[in-house]
Amino acid sequence: MVSWFPNKKLETLEQIKLRIESALPLTKLDILPNECPAGERSLVVDASRGLDVAKFLRDDAQLKLDYCSNVTGIDWPEAKIKTKVKKKVVVEGVEKEVEEIVETLRSGHLEVVYHLYSMELKHGPIVLRLRTANRTDQTHLPSFTPVWRGAEFQEREIFDLYGVIFDGHPDLRRILMWDEFVGFPMRRDYVEPDDFEYEPTPHDEVLDAAKKHYPVEVKAEVKPEVKA
């Protein structure tokens, strides 16, 4: 097998985390496990220090993550998460292991995921995750467009479809939807607008929807029966 590129091994995520923490003190970092064995674990970065971490990852000589491949928005609404916890219970003097289901409340937030590669050293990806405080009024995150220009349109798309506001983005406008559009269609709780008017001859559920809007009754066109 001919290897064209030097297959350089990337440091582990723990090593990278330690190096970021020593270079940028007071930075909160977490490693998020991935249950899929082939997938990559990711680094959860505190939003207030996001830009510094991004610059570090790009400029560091060992990493040189000069290529921001993919930017994804994810919506995590408020939800109850059930996890199984193994507990040891003493029943009639015998110790037994019992599985218990524990419910925890996950607070809703929006998440932006960056997949970073290095074109120079040909390694990657490092997955960065940034989270907003909530889904309603605190949806600000730092924009990485000043660091990687390639994030510009993708961040605009996330602003458009999820409503994450990227501070420091040079041109934050809607990109796929039109400017007058209200709402963020990729959110999990998005409800389609009640566009009852598109049907020229309303029937079934569209007719029911149309009835709410018109004061007078809307009649569906009734075809006369054809007698054989």
Partner: protein, 390 residues
Amino acid sequence: MNAVAAMPPKSFEVKPKLDESGTPIGELLEISMGPHHPSTHGVFRMDVVLDGEKVVKLKPVCGYLHRNHEKIGENISYLASMPYTDRLDYFCSMTNNWAYALTIEKLAGLAVPERAEYIRVIMAELTRLQNHTSLIGFFVHDMGALGTPLMYAFREREKILDLFEEVSGARMMCNYMRFGGVRVDVNDEWLARTKQLVANYGRFLDEFETFLNQNEILLARTQGVSPLTKEQAVNASLTGPLLRAAGVNYDVRKVDKYGIYSRFDFKVPLGEHGDLYDRYMMRVLEMRESIKILNQALRDIPAGPVMDPKAKLRGFRPKPGEVYGRIESPKGELGFYIISDGGPNPYRYRVRPPSFINITILEDMCLGHRVADVIVILGSVDIVLGEVDR
């Protein structure tokens, strides 16, 4: 014929008329190019501000074909997304299928039989041939060579689409691959016909190159126009032939070695200036390399099954987790990012569209060039609006 644009770039800088204080005379003209001009490659609009004929500002406006592909993907099962991926980049449905299948295989840990891997490589490289051929046709069409080169290109493209139709039932919306293999096997007659086509393709390329490589109009319109530096190209996440025209050695086929690409002997052509001529030449040279890969794949293809018997298509529920898979599509890096929560539908289904991200620095490419060059520059980026708007 294997050298890339050895001629020095010419200077085409347009100097606006200035008054004594250095401000341009006359007023700026704002025009809206598109969305229905045939040379805009679909329903795509550019808001351009002109100083005379020189572009001083350009904003791409897209979304006319937006149907929220990603939301559709979240609401249907894993298998049902496969035919939808055909509609992303409708020129290269085979590579779209492969990217999606590869991601799901990575997520669920499925193996692909040997023969299916070879069939996938053959399909992907045929797709690359037909995409690049028709792109060159469109590219010279944009420069004013109306019709003739495009017809030559489409004649060859149609031969490849005939092969796709025979094996998958559709010319463009192939829906051919599945996670764990491909849908149907190819027969020996099909392989013989493909061998015949590949053997003749080099001669067609020779003919095409004779017409175009040294063509005076093509040289005048492309050399030195819209040069890109390595730093600009990498920072703007450009991928595909556009990136390699700027001289950056990055091909996902070589870097990730997905599928069985490590078995084939092929080279990654690189440009020097990153101008339009290099981008044109990059496509020609990539087709030559594709022919090399096809010859090796058609020679070595083994017999055997084409589907992993463990792959379960209906009622497919992968374990929770997330995965990012990517391939080198003819337009650049095509990636899928899937988050599974253990249910029958993906929790998040994201497409990384190469042509959408490649137009991020369309403005920088066009600034300072004439309005007639804007169309050619857009043509050289190679966008398909089904993928840009999703």
